[in-house]
Each structure stands twice: as structure tokens, then as C-alpha cells.
Amino acid sequence: MKSDFIIQCIDNITNCIVESESEIESLDRVIGDGDHYINIKRGALAVQSIKGDLNHLTNAEAFKKIGMTIMSSVGGASGPLFASFFLALSKEVSDNDDLHKFSLGFSRGVESIMQRGKSKLGDKTMLDVLIPVSEKLQSLVKDGCEKNIMIKEIDLTAQAGVIATKDLIPAKGRSAGLAERAVGHIDPGAKTCQIIISTICNQLNKG
């Protein structure tokens, strides 16, 4: 992990989110309140606007700055959740490509989302992608898995997670007011997380 890799990811993630506008929007209009894409895009653009400042920072400082930028630009439910993730992650990562530390930081980040949102696996939220990805990451790192296989496994886990939200009954977020009406629809927050994770996986494949 290096700041320049993070910066490349920021550009790619922003592009992928913008390209997925109609998909994310249509999901949110069915079971949310229609603001998810706008908020996520605002966050991505805000992070992109500070990418030049990240060059001189350590990984930990860069993730902290990303977290603070998201906190003060996104709002809604996504803002505090994504911000909590990056702030928790920033407390664990180091500068020497230590995958153990990164995977620990990732799971701390996911835990802080669970705490902030008072949610768990199966609530039809972003956590239905993030928790399986975090667990997969821990076990692959522990087993000393080869890089290419790891990337592929993580990507597949994220995609399976997002599809699994389709049949779940929402317990959190504005779609909770819909309960059964939301069954059969993918959760937009889970979809956004999968897009971000898949984009990073693609970037890692190239690198």
C-alpha cells in the first residue's frame, strides 16, 4: 500500500460510481429515499478533490484524511458509516505493505460501521457485503494465500454478498419502513460497497 496506489483507486472508484449512476439510483428509488447516489458521488468527488494532499502522507494519515473529508461532506447515513470505517482503518494500517495489519484495520473498520449503525449481518445493508469480505480477507491472509487468488476470492465474495441482499428483509435504514415490500430488491448501500471493492480488486490486478 502506498499513497499513489490509494490515489489511483480514488480516481477509479469515482469513475465507477459515476458510471453506475442509473443502477444505484434505480435501486435506491425502489427501497430507499432517492438520495444515496447523490451522497456517494458527493463523497467521492470530495475525496478526489483532496487527493493531491495525500501524496505526502503516510497510509494511516491518508485514510484519516479521507475519513474526515467524508464525514464533513456526505451527510445522510452513508457519511458517518463510511467515515467511521476509514477513521478506524487509519488506526491500524502501517506503511510497509503489512497485509495482516491491513486486514485487521479492515475488520476494525467494519466493526465501527456495525457500532455506528447498530446493525449486523442479514439486516440488508452494506454490512452484507462488508462482513463476508472482511472474514474472507482475514482467513486468506492467515492462510498466506497467493495475491491473484486472494483478489479473485474477495471480488467474488463481494458480488455474492450484494446478490444475497435481494432476499433479505430490511431491518435498518429508511427501507426498514417498507419491510416485506423491499424483498426482491438489492440494497443500494451494499451495491455501492461491492462496486468500490471490485474496483480496488481490478486495480490490484493491474498493479
Binding site: 432517492g34 464525514m71 464533513s72 447515513a77 430490511p170 419502513g177
Partner: protein, 334 residues
């Protein structure tokens, strides 16, 4: 989409600038970060801070002033404000008697206000409003939503804070007014978020959404439109059932405060027609209306529709409801 708009990104700031100019005798607008306060801050009283996504005007900016709120933090349309807005506003006000946050129960609002409260050094408490009877309290919900009853909470607690009561007393009264309030809304049309450019939901020419939320979130059921008296009958029944579940007696001699609230796309004539229907039905049930308010107080952008809120009054709530208030959108007794 057809709206009065310059650039979509500037929609809220352009509107807030107009608000600040039109009411420059009452409010102060800060732009970076965005927050609005009363013109004259009294640092010795409990600071009442509210906020939430924009699009519900006059909630909350229209209720800044003597006898009501001190600070409002507007977010983007239907998107909660960010913690730095609340933190900067509170630091600007330097309160000496603590901060009471009044927050509508939506996950985004709750989380952003929670982050702000963790990052300030001032004493603080939070009143979470959840007066919407539409969404059932079950393990599958985050609880009920906060809607038009929030206006009553802000008015009543605003009066108590003005009288010099302490933070705990304000928190206790806020919780009581919220508990005593119950609301239900019906939408006739969708609303359109400027940045989205399209209606949030689609609804047939002859359909209504019963139990709609103030962001156009679906409620209990989609049904065919019928006579207003019949729609109101369902609304009153939903509220009375909610009071029943809360073990509150609406036949209490103190009576109720009846708020008929428009979502902004429905004319006053229809709101008064609704008021008449509610009044006739309550009269048959021997429920006494002792205070009333009719108008657009908690809106949903351009949505057509209305909500009914009933608040069970006791002497304390009635006294603080009647107390003088001087804000851009609620003023009496001055």
C-alpha cells in the same frame, strides 16, 4: 422537473441566503460550514440545536428565535447535515448551560448528531422525535420516524428553555411532548429532489400513499383515492390506535392540540377541509380539541398531501405552547 433553480448544487444555499435576507432581524446565516442561528444568542440559557435534511421548510430554520430554537443545521435536500456543521455552530454560540439536540429519528440524522455530540466538550442531551404512527415498532424497524410532531416539541421546549430551566428539565419535557404526540401522513403525489431531477416515487392519478414519510418514503399501503372524510377516518383511527398502544387517554379533559400539516403541494383550502373532517370525527368520540394549528409546517418539497398530528395536552405543555414565540414562521403573543 420544473423548478425555480439556478444551479442544482447551489439550491439550498441560494434558498438559505434568501431566508437570511428576508428575516435579517431574526436570524444569522453562516456559510462555511452551513448553520443558521438566532440573531441574538443568549449563552446563559440551554442551547436548542436542531437540524436535518433540507426540503421540510419551514422546519427547522423557520423556527429560530425567541421562544423556540437557537441553532438549525440544514443538510442537503433530504440528507442529514454533517457533524462539523453542528460543532461549528455550537462553538460559535459558546453555551454556558448545555446543549439540547432535537433530532428526528432517521438513521442518518441520529448518526451525524451522535458523531457531533461525541466531538463537543459542552454538556449535552438529545431528544429523539418519533411521532409517526405509520411505521410499526417492531424488530424490523429502527423505530418510528420523526415528523410534524417535532414542531410541537421545538415550540414547547423552546419556551421552557427561554424561562431559564436547566438541560435535564428541557430533555424531560421534550421526551414527554414527543411521547404525547402522534402523526400520520397521506401523499397524493410524489416529490422531486432537485439533484435527482425525477419524482422520488411513482403514484397513479387515482392512488394515495397512506402513511407516507416526509421524504416520500412509502408508508403502510397504496390505495385508491376516496372521499376526504373516509381518508381522514383512517388517519384518525391510526392515531388513536397509536395513543392506545402508548397507554395515553385522549379523552383527558386537557384536550388535544390538533396540527393539520400540509406537505407543501396541497392548498390551505384542502387542509381546512381536512381539519373540519377531523374535528367532526373527534367531536363524535368526545375528544376535545383545545388548541389548533393549520398550515405548511413540516413539508416534503413539492409533494401534495397532508399529515395530522395530535398532541395530548396537560397544563405544562399547554402553558409552554401558549407562551410568546417570535420566529420567521411561528409567532404569537408578542
Amino acid at each position: 422537473m420544473k423548478k425555480f433553480l439556478n444551479q442544482t448544487d447551489n439550491f439550498i444555499v441560494d434558498s438559505l441566503k434568501g431566508y437570511a435576507k428576508a428575516h435579517e432581524d431574526l436570524i444569522y446565516l453562516n456559510l462555511d460550514p452551513v448553520f443558521v442561528t438566532r440573531k441574538e444568542i443568549n449563552p446563559n440559557k440551554v442551547l436548542l440545536v436542531s437540524g436535518g435534511g433540507s426540503g421540510h421548510e419551514p422546519l427547522h430554520t423557520g423556527y429560530l428565535g425567541q421562544g423556540m430554537l437557537d441553532v438549525a443545521c440544514p443538510g442537503h435536500v433530504f440528507t442529514s447535515p454533517t457533524p462539523d456543521q453542528m460543532i461549528s455552530a455550537i462553538e460559535y454560540c459558546q453555551p454556558k448551560s448545555g446543549v439540547l439536540f432535537i433530532v428526528k429519528n432517521y438513521s442518518g440524522d441520529v448518526m451525524n448528531f451522535e458523531m457531533a455530540s461525541e466531538m463537543i466538550t459542552f454538556d449535552h442531551q438529545t431528544v429523539l422525535t418519533n411521532d409517526d404512527a405509520a411505521v410499526f415498532n417492531s424488530s424490523y424497524t429502527t423505530g418510528k420516524r420523526g415528523v410534524a410532531g417535532t414542531v410541537i416539541v421545538e415550540k414547547v421546549v423552546g419556551s421552557l428553555a427561554e424561562s431559564g430551566s436547566d438541560l435535564t428539565a428541557c430533555k424531560v419535557l421534550g421526551d414527554k411532548v414527543n411521547h404525547h404526540s402522534s402523526s400520520i401522513g397521506v401523499a397524493l403525489s410524489s416529490c422531486t429532489i432537485p439533484a435527482a431531477g425525477k419524482p422520488t416515487f411513482s403514484i397513479g392519478e387515482n392512488e394515495i400513499e397512506f402513511g407516507v414519510g416526509i421524504h416520500g418514503e412509502p408508508g403502510r399501503k397504496r390505495e385508491k383515492i376516496k372521499a376526504a372524510n373516509l381518508i381522514v377516518e383512517d388517519m384518525v383511527a391510526a392515531i388513536l390506535k397509536d395513543f392506545d398502544e402508548k397507554s395515553l387517554d385522549v379523552k383527558d379533559p386537557g384536550g388535544i392540540l390538533l396540527l393539520v400539516n400540509g406537505f407543501s403541494g396541497t392548498p390551505l383550502s384542502e387542509l381546512y377541509l381536512i381539519y373540519n373532517a377531523v374535528a367532526e370525527q373527534l367531536s363524535k368520540k368526545n375528544i376535545h380539541i383545545s388548541r389548533s394549528l393549520v398550515g405548511n409546517y413540516t413539508t416534503a418539497l413539492d409533494m401534495a398531501g397532508a399529515s395530522i398530528t395530535m398532541c395530548l395536552l396537560d397544563d405544562e405543555i399547554k402553558k409552554h405552547w401558549d407562551a410568546p414565540v417570535l420566529t420567521p414562521n411561528l409567532r404569537w403573543g408578542n
